[in-house]
Symmetry: C2
Subunit: 165 residues, 2 copies
DNA sequence: AGAGTAGTTGATGATTATTCTCAATAAGTG
DNA sequence: CACTTATTGAGAATAATCATCAACTACTCT
């Protein structure tokens, strides 16, 4: 993975999302700071190819391999911070640990179909769902951060396997 | 909570769901067994009032209070088993632990709007979502178990609180 | 630019939800 | 009723995540 330092950053779908500057602005507005670690982590997610999702440990390893050593403490803190800011989405794609991806707005917004046996995940899009979710949040006065349809299912391979539940 | 022993069981919305007999049939078909513990746990969920969700610990306490002592080991095993069977849905309503509820079919199927700050949860219905989810799973040949829209947001109260993320 | 304030990091230890192990028990079968 | 084997319960083990705190540094204000 190539980390572009400084300047504006685009994601892999050619839709401009966050720049270091816009992240800094949003952080500072709340009295927080833009650190090199936070900027680096954002860039990793922005450069992540489509359909990829990272766990905390995954991110830790990616950064280590890139020569950017960031502590697991900071990784966990940053993932949670960015999820709460609405920059990242927190996904339950497998048992035991969370995965994260960039929270992309329409029209790149998507959902997940997950095999509960082998965790094979397929992404799919649906504009109506985003609309319905947005409306439901609005109706209750909630400020929406993320809206994700999760389908738990058994993939064709695992159906054939006839494994014990 | 009142646990009805034996006979057919109805949920709080007057829609017949699982009976002890139908659970037994489904279990035996796979070589599993219907135990008093499994039957009791199913009944707890069937008698749960609308909008309630139980964690493993919650369920453990409910059963203890009811004089039905079931070990935490069995609770965890049974929750996972029933979720994999599609009888229960596994929900991420709060940080740190899962919640469970009966996986009710249409027209009782519903979704969750969750405050990421205080975990206040609102349920809402949407038939189109269930249709979209079912179609997405079918298209990929996945055998659907559950289909849930999760909206992460900040509730009106927490918006006013201006708390640190 | 320099100083001060307070948010952030990284190392480490703590927590805790969930799983594993295994001997004792009991459900299903015929 | 006897047999096979899934299931239970107690306790230990695991692992993801969080808390703590001293050292560091981003930001703000002269
Ligand atoms: Mn995705
Ligand atoms: Mn619910
Ligand atoms: Zn699978
Ligand atoms: Zn709230």
């Amino acid at each position: 993975m190539i980390l572009k330092k400084g300047g504006s950053v685009e994601n892999n779908m050619n839709a401009p999302v966050y720049t270091a500057a816009s992240l800094k602005a949003e952080l500072n507005e709340k009295g927080w700071r833009l650190t090199p670690q936070r900027e680096t982590i954002l860039q990793v997610f922005q450069n992540l190819s489509e359909g990829k999702h990272l766990s905390a440990e995954d991110l830790y390893e990616v950064l280590k391999a890139d020569g950017e050593g960031i502590s697991l403490s900071t990784i966990y803190r940053t993932l949670k911070l960015m999820a709460r800011m609405g920059i990242l989405r927190e996904l339950e794609l497998a048992e035991g640990h969370k995965h994260y991806e960039l929270n992309q707005p329409y029209p790149h917004h998507h959902h997940h179909l997950i095999c509960v046996r082998c965790s094979k995940t397929i992404e799919f899009k649906s504009d109506p769902i985003l609309k319905i979710g947005t409306k439901a949040a609005q109706k209750e006065g909630y400020h929406i951060l993320d809206c994700q349809l999760t389908i738990h299912a058994v993939c064709p391979t695992c159906q054939r396997a006839l494994l014990p539940v």
